[in-house]
């Protein structure tokens, strides 16, 4: 049996605020130059630095955390897929300044005892946050290592008391086209919807994150709360959740609706099942050396010990 060992995060591991602010200023001043430039790259948006978390002390859950080198705060917060803010990798960073993540409520609906509209603080006890350093594997064959702060989704679900009819749980991203410019075009069927089976949702690896690197989530990272399912492709880990729905039928998820032959409901990281347009056998770890070769992708993103049993009787080639 593995005994869970918690260790306090060293303050040296967190990007110091001064350096962080300096970087911001540098980016801003470069932005001013580039706005004059004719090819239209604008980095003009200035943003407040993230507020420190309400929880002063959090512990790293070392049982579920990787010891691989973490990506920098800058990489994690400037290279995102968050189509609500645009399709480019830097769009979420540049276009999310108008998004207002507080106050925040979550609507709990469906096959569940404690339905209702909850304030985020009523759903998540900020004093019980723990750090999980997880690999994140994007369906586009790149990956990062990110120190999330959050709580197990199971602990939230238990509080809500789902009925025996609840076979699946689905999540919705908030729909605010005024604050999320990407939602003005129907790139996807807004609001973004993702879902898990109850067993997946209750797995101890599945968390709801509210922060990373010891700080509140920035808008581009899915503020104020998002799902993290580390053994599935990144698009399953839905951001800025304002609705959780318990249901008997399999949820109709956004990417699956957009292209069902490319993105399955399960979307488990699987090096043996290629995307129709590209191979999933290898991945580029962001932040590694420029000339570094790609690394092999691991089954279930390396979390097989924790989750492989969920899919024992499932043909993963068919249910990709």
């Amino acid at each position: 049996m593995i005994i869970q060992k918690n260790s306090v995060v060293k303050s040296s591991e967190i990007t110091p605020e001064k350096i962080y602010l300096k970087r911001r200023n540098l980016i801003k001043s470069i932005g001013m130059i580039s706005t004059i430039a004719p090819w239209g790259i604008t980095f003009g948006q200035s943003k407040e630095p993230p507020k420190p978390l309400t929880a002063a002390n959090f512990k790293t859950n070392s049982m579920y955390s990787t010891s691989e080198p973490k990506n920098t705060f800058e990489d994690i917060t400037t290279y995102n897929n968050f189509y609500e803010f645009g399709m480019g990798k830097t769009d979420p960073y540049q276009n999310s300044g108008r998004f207002e993540p507080s106050p925040w409520t979550i609507n709990i609906t469906g096959e569940v005892e404690k339905k209702g509209i909850y304030d985020i603080d009523d759903l998540i006890d900020m004093n019980t946050l723990e750090e999980r350093i997880y690999r994140l594997r994007c369906v586009e064959a790149w990956s990062m290592v990110i120190p999330w702060l959050g709580i197990p989704l199971a602990s939230i679900i238990q509080k809500l008391e789902p009925s025996s009819n609840a076979k699946y749980v689905s999540f919705e991203t908030v729909y605010r086209p005024k604050e999320m410019p990407g939602q003005k075009r129907r790139i996807l069927n807004w609001p973004y919807i993702e879902g898990l089976t109850m067993a997946e949702a209750m797995n101890p690896l599945t968390i709801i994150a509210v922060g990373l690197y010891g700080r509140d989530l920035l808008n581009q990272s899915g503020a104020p709360m998002r799902l993290i399912v580390p053994w599935k492709y990144g698009f399953k880990s839905i951001k800025s959740i304002n609705k959780i729905h318990f249901q008997e039928a399999q949820p109709k998820t956004s990417w699956n609706l957009a292209a069902s032959n490319e993105y399955g409901f399960y979307a488990n990281v699987n090096p043996e099942v290629d995307h129709p347009q590209w191979s999933q056998a290898r991945e580029r770890r962001i932040g590694n050396s420029f000339f570094g070769t790609k690394q092999p992708t691991l089954m279930f993103n390396g979390y097989g010990d924790e989750v492989a049993h969920l899919y024992k009787n499932l043909n993963l080639k068919k249910y990709f």
Binding site: S34, W39, Y83, W278, F290
Partner: protein, 192 residues
């Protein structure tokens, strides 16, 4: 006239200069995934300039302004320059120059097969632009424009196919390519 051609050619090289500056950290740098930035940037500008080059011919055909006959060759070569960089950054940096891995990757990835085909077409056209091959070039103009068009169509297809959702630019370029091809067929029909 010669000066205008030179100036326009230099302008078409501007994106490359910007990319180089990005490599040194200016203009917001290359971002978290530098190799992806380089591959996308060179590919995107390669196809844009190629399409602009192809649009110039019909304009020249109707306006009879000499500049439009002088421009396609230098602009086409600039486009090829971007596309060669596009391919080399993929092959040498992204795939680490490993020929076996590259071949497997291309075979496994449909949009790469298409892109590779387009690249070979355009590369062969670039080669015949050498002075020594000029007589051959002049004799086989229709073949050459056929190969160029095939290369451009494959290039746009490659661009379109690697996007995850329908994006404006590949759709726009596809529409332009469709019109250009239709025009080309009309012209060759008129001639015969």
């Amino acid at each position: 006239m010669q000066l205008i051609v030179k100036v326009l050619t230099l302008i078409s090289l501007l994106p490359f200069i910007i990319l180089s500056c990005k490599g040194f950290g200016y203009f917001s740098g290359l971002g978290a995934n530098p190799i992806e930035t380089i591959i996308h940037f060179t590919g995107q500008w390669g196809i844009r300039i190629l399409i602009i080059t192809l649009i110039i011919t019909p304009i020249g055909h109707y306006t009879h302004y000499k500049l439009f006959n002088k421009l396609p060759k230098p602009l086409g070569l600039v486009s090829l320059f971007y596309i060669i960089n596009h391919f080399l950054s993929y092959a040498l940096i992204d795939q680490g120059g490993d020929v076996k891995i590259i071949i497997v990757d291309i075979i496994e990835t449909p949009y790469l097969i298409v892109g590779w085909g387009g690249f070979l077409c355009l590369l062969s056209i670039g080669l015949v632009s050498f002075k020594k091959l000029q007589p051959w070039f002049n004799k086989n103009r229709s073949t050459i424009s056929g190969i160029t068009y095939t290369g451009a169509i494959l290039g746009v297809w490659h661009f379109y196919w690697q996007t995850k959702v329908i994006e404006t630019e590949p759709v726009l370029l596809s529409a332009i390519m469709l019109l250009l091809t239709a025009w080309k067929f009309k012209i060759s029909k008129d001639k015969s």
